[in-house]
Amino acid sequence: MAELQFREAIRDAMDEEMARDEKVFLMGEEVAEYNGAYKVSEGLLDKYGFKRVIDTPISELGFAGIGVGAAMNGLRPIVEFMTFNFAVLAADQIINHASKARYMLGGQLNTPIVFRGPNASAGQLGATHSVAYDSMYAQFPGLSVIYPSEPDDAKGLLKSAIRNDDAVLFMESEQMYGMKGEVSDEEDYIIPIGKGKIKREGDDVTVVATGKMYHIAKQAANQLAKDGVEVEIIDPRTIKPLDIELIVESIKKTNRCVIVDESHPFGGLASEVGFLIQREAFDYLDAPVRRVTLPDVNAPFSKPLFDLWLPDAKQVIDAVNTVTYRN
């Protein structure tokens, strides 16, 4: 095991895949000469040269389209967005082309492309730079959505994403790039897409959380443990396809569930998990499922409002206390 920063784990995944397969290349704003806006691609230009590490103009739709075209023609592009908030401009390429080309052409070609970059809010960046897109992209058939919470997951899953023959959205967080964690040094470390992980075992309540929200859930779980409430944290890691079996197995043991989701409440990961639980684990529920999400309000800029807006450990603790009838 090696302790790596999140950004290092992502870089290593890209490095290993680029070394393994010369069809893999990286492009995006500032990925080459500047070594990435968040230093994720540090050293890759030196190692692979301008042909495979390509700086693009500030033109998300353009370079996303080049990526999709390259994928259709047999390459394996990694397209980095400086943030998924800017990828809205490339939505036509992602939603209409990357996700649908194989389907509409009857399987004549594949779109093995990874779109990656930071997702959701990262402090006071205002309403247009603070949106969580994972649930939205998970709506579309033909797209896989990954939102890892720890460096180890990031490495294993990004390698799987690069090898995937269909389009994958790989979501990161500005606030997590510097986060350190043990990363397996197993050679060719692969985590299959669609497999969740029990990150903490407990008997009293299942908390489902991924990405940045996993760390909120973890804080809450540590606090609750002091009160004798043992939280089982399930990190699905992949939003879509979702590892609902793992969640249901956990609920069969704990009988209660709280979902922590960085999206707005309507039709997000939390609603989907809530629906699936009532269908798959109805007879095992001892309390209505609860969720902690953003409110149905755009991100505020003001610091006090922003702090209220973003889910925090206290809200998770409240929800856990409600489903365990401790409130």
């Binding site: 009988n255 409440p265 001892d286 609860r290 999400t293 809200q315 009838y325």
Partner: protein, 428 residues
């Protein structure tokens, strides 16, 4: 300066007072200490005194009207004084529509709007702010009678053979949850473990669907027994002369006169003399019925019916006899028309034919009383210092104490006894 006279707090619990009587009228001079009005509170009628001397400039409330605590009843001041400001204030304080009143409404409306705005915000934070959510939920507890249990608790109860209705739920709105099933200990089962189990095979229970008649009996009689404060008085009647009279009558009558017919007739005539027994409680008033309509309880297979003999006191024994027979027959055949069961003012229930010595009956609403008639018994009685064989019958009157007091019921029973013991008195 003009002074308002406000509704004083005359009892700890009063919220408003009704002006029973004004002792003043506009233009009168009052001195401090004068009793200006009598006010009915929730407890008693109290006198209201004037504190300040002056001339009554305005009386704002009519006799019989209610005024909230602190509401303005009258204005006292110097003759000719301008009291328009006080009048305005009075109008708003006493809650009749005026300009200032509207403003007040406006304000409260705004307030309401504010709070509802907040509510609209809550659903957004629905899962975020669990406390708010919880508050709302406990506010809307519904009472549809359904047992609330979590799906898990339901399944566990089923597996363990526990009836959910026996379990107390500890979740919100009494929801039965996992821990309630886990901690459930049947109290009956506990006792059984102490007592040796009997070695009898248990026979199957039978659940019978409740008929409409059963439902009606259950509803009406529960309502009566639980709502009407019943009290009971029993009197023993010497039946010797009634027995003689009955034999004599039956020798000449086409229709057979029963003892019950005689009790019905005597009761009807006694009711005419004691109208308070022939009454109904109507909530705000008591109705003394003009007619005497005695209902007779008839036992049928499915339950009980009470056909009514209208104008009972005006009917002859023969009429009573034949009509009772006819109505009882219709009742047994379930052919009684609704109007034949309506309008009773008193009810008689007779279990004498079953040898019942005495019993108490539940009042048949909206009657004030019901008479329960026992069997005629051969008993030793003391007559002129000698123990001799006698014939006695006990009747028990159940009365609704809201309408009838003990002495009134006793007087009625005495009149009834006099008539039964001297059947000739019925001819008067």
């Amino acid at each position: 300066m003009a002074i308002k006279i406000e509704m004083p707090k005359l009892s700890d619990t009063m919220e408003e007072g009704v002006i029973a009587k004004w002792n003043i009228s506009e233009g009168d001079k009052v001195e401090s200490g004068d009793v200006i009005a009598e006010v009915e509170t929730d407890k008693a009628t109290m006198e209201v005194e004037a504190f300040d001397p002056g001339t009554v400039l305005k009386i704002l409330v009519d006799e019989g009207d209610a005024v909230p605590l602190g509401g303005i009843m009258a204005i006292v001041g110097e003759e000719g004084e301008d009291i328009s400001d006080l009048l305005k204030e009075a109008e708003s304080a006493n809650g009749s529509g005026s300009a200032s009143d509207d403003k007040e409404d406006d304000k409260s409306e705004k307030k309401e709007k504010k709070s509802s705005d907040k509510k609209e915000f809550d659903p957004i934070l629905e899962d975020v702010d669990s406390k708010e959510d919880k508050k709302e939920k406990s506010g809307q507890a519904d009472d549809d009678g359904r047992i609330k249990a979590s799906p898990l608790a339901r399944k566990m109860a089923e597996e363990k053979g526990i009836k959910l209705s026996d379990v107390d739920g500890s979740g919100p709105d009494g929801r039965i949850i996992k821990r309630d099933i886990e901690s459930y200990e049947p109290s009956a089962a506990k006792e059984e473990s102490v007592v040796q189990a009997p070695d009898f095979a248990s026979e199957e229970d039978e659940e019978i669907k409740i008929s409409q008649m059963r439902k009606a009996i259950a509803r009406r009689l529960s309502e009566s027994k639980f709502n009407n404060p019943h009290f009971y008085e029993t009197i023993d009647i010497d039946m010797e002369k009634a027995i003689e009279a009955r034999s004599a009558l039956n020798e000449i009558s086409d229709v057979k006169i029963s003892f019950n017919d005689i009790v019905v007739k005597a009761s009807a005539m006694a009711l005419r003399k004691h109208p308070e027994i022939n009454s109904s409680w109507l909530g705000d008033t008591i109705r003394k019925h003009g007619d005497v309509n005695v209902a007779v309880a008839v036992a049928i297979d499915e339950g009980l019916m009470t056909p009514v003999l209208n104008h009972t006191d005006k009917k002859t024994l023969q009429q009573i006899s034949s009509e009772t027979r006819e109505l009882a027959g219709l009742a047994r055949d379930r052919k009684l028309q609704p109007e034949q069961m309506e309008g009773s003012t008193f009810t008689i229930s007779n279990l004498g034919m079953f040898g019942i010595e005495e019993f108490t009956a539940i009042i048949n609403p909206p009657n004030a009383c019901i008479l329960a008639v026992g069997a005629i018994r051969d008993v030793p009685v003391v007559k002129d210092g000698q123990v001799v064989p006698g014939k006695r019958m006990k009747v028990t009157l159940s009365s609704d104490h809201r309408i009838v007091d003990g002495a009134k019921a006793a007087q009625f029973l005495n009149t009834l006894r006099t008539m039964m013991e001297n059947p000739l008195a019925m001819m008067l």
